[in-house]
């Protein structure tokens, strides 16, 4: 196999997380990243186990080696035309307003793959 990142898209996703954090670190004074908090939507089509497996590989020999990847799964939020407000739904099988039952395709949350924050240790 030429490159492990190719066959599971989670590996290319964690590589992109590592690159994004390293870019950010370049503009900072020396510090240590203890953890990277990732927000992953219920419909984002990524699997936490595969992300965790890839994390070690992607972080190796970088400033992020030894850091923890924390994956926070976020629920789907649909906008309900009837109730005129966003509503959170459980799971990935239900695309209706939980209050009034109106079907909705207006997804306001649930597809994101986002670096939310970093847990940093400053050396003082």
């Amino acid at each position: 196999m030429e490159d492990a990142s190719k066959n599971v898209h989670e590996l290319s996703i964690v590589q992109s997380v590592v690159e994004t954090v390293l870019d950010w670190l370049r503009a900072q004074p020396p510090l240590r990243v203890k953890a990277v908090n990732l927000r992953v939507g219920a419909l984002s089509a990524v699997v936490e186990d595969a992300l965790q497996f890839g994390w070690e590989i992607a972080a190796k020999d970088t400033q992020l080696e030894g850091s923890t990847l924390v994956v926070h799964e976020v629920n789907i939020v649909l906008y309900c035309m009837q109730c005129q407000k966003p509503e959170e739904v459980e799971g990935t099988q239900f695309f209706r307003c939980p209050n009034c039952g109106t079907p909705s395709n207006d997804l306001r949350q649930g597809r994101e793959i986002e670096i939310e924050s970093l847990e940093i240790e400053d050396e003082a």
Partner: protein, 227 residues
């Protein structure tokens, strides 16, 4: 030496680079007046067969479609599709499980997009990975064949929810496969309420005119006589 721990907010999208490239493609497609269509399904659903027929039918009606076709290896599909007379290019991903906006952009080089009325992008056969990658398409079509089972949209909600319309393929085999149309449509509507669904067979031609009408209605350009 003491250490303090703090949290720094970053709020950065991981697929930002792809999203930005896709936004650039979307603008190019819009400015050229063509309708870009991303076809997604599992392997063997019949994306290439549907596309073969679609290219032919659109050309017969005076439209000028083109296609990019993604596969891990081989240019078999591109050669198959080129028989329609439409411009076709193969994208080999060499192991990557989905197409990305960058690959699409690279394979458009040398084409004058304003010459086309439709650009079809046949994704790699995969129901998971392609769902997160925007290719700048105007519409995403998810296919489901009667041999796959009626509950496929429930099993892969991420990709079926991301589609603007569905095409059920190989409907000529429905009876042999004991395919339950009502159940299939119910699972599609549960995952993507209101999605238009076309039941098609490229073999018998069933449902093809309605599918072509849909593509024509979504195109901003009108037909012109072909040479």
């Amino acid at each position: 030496m003491s250490t303090t721990t703090r949290i720094v907010e970053l709020r950065k999208g991981v697929l930002k680079k792809n999203d930005e490239l896709a936004a650039g493609l979307r603008k190019r497609f819009f400015d050229s007046g063509l309708l870009a269509v991303n076809l997604v399904s599992s392997p063997g659903t019949g994306k290439t067969a549907l596309l073969e027929r679609t290219l032919r039918e659109l050309r017969e009606r005076g439209y000028r479609p083109a296609a990019l076709v993604g596969d891990l290896e081989t240019d078999n599909d591109a050669r198959r599709l080129a028989a329609s007379g439409a411009p076709v290019r193969q994208i080999n991903t060499h192991g990557i499980c989905h197409l990305e906006a960058e690959m699409v952009g690279k394979h458009l080089e040398g084409w004058t997009l304003s010459d086309f009325t439709h650009l079809f992008i046949e994704n790699v056969g995969n129901l998971v990975c392609p769902s997160s990658y925007d290719l700048g398409e105007e519409i995403r079509i998810a296919l489901l064949s009667v041999t796959e089972g009626e509950d496929k949209p429930l099993k892969y909600p991420s990709i079926y929810n991301s589609a603007d319309a569905m095409v059920i393929t190989k409907i000529d085999l429905a009876q042999a496969c004991e395919f339950d149309r009502t159940a299939a449509n119910a699972s599609i509507q549960a995952i993507r309420p209101g999605a238009p669904t076309f039941e098609t067979s490229v073999k018998t031609g069933e449902g093809i005119p309605a599918w072509i009408d849909f593509l024509v209605s979504r195109s901003g350009k009108s037909a012109s006589p072909t040479n």
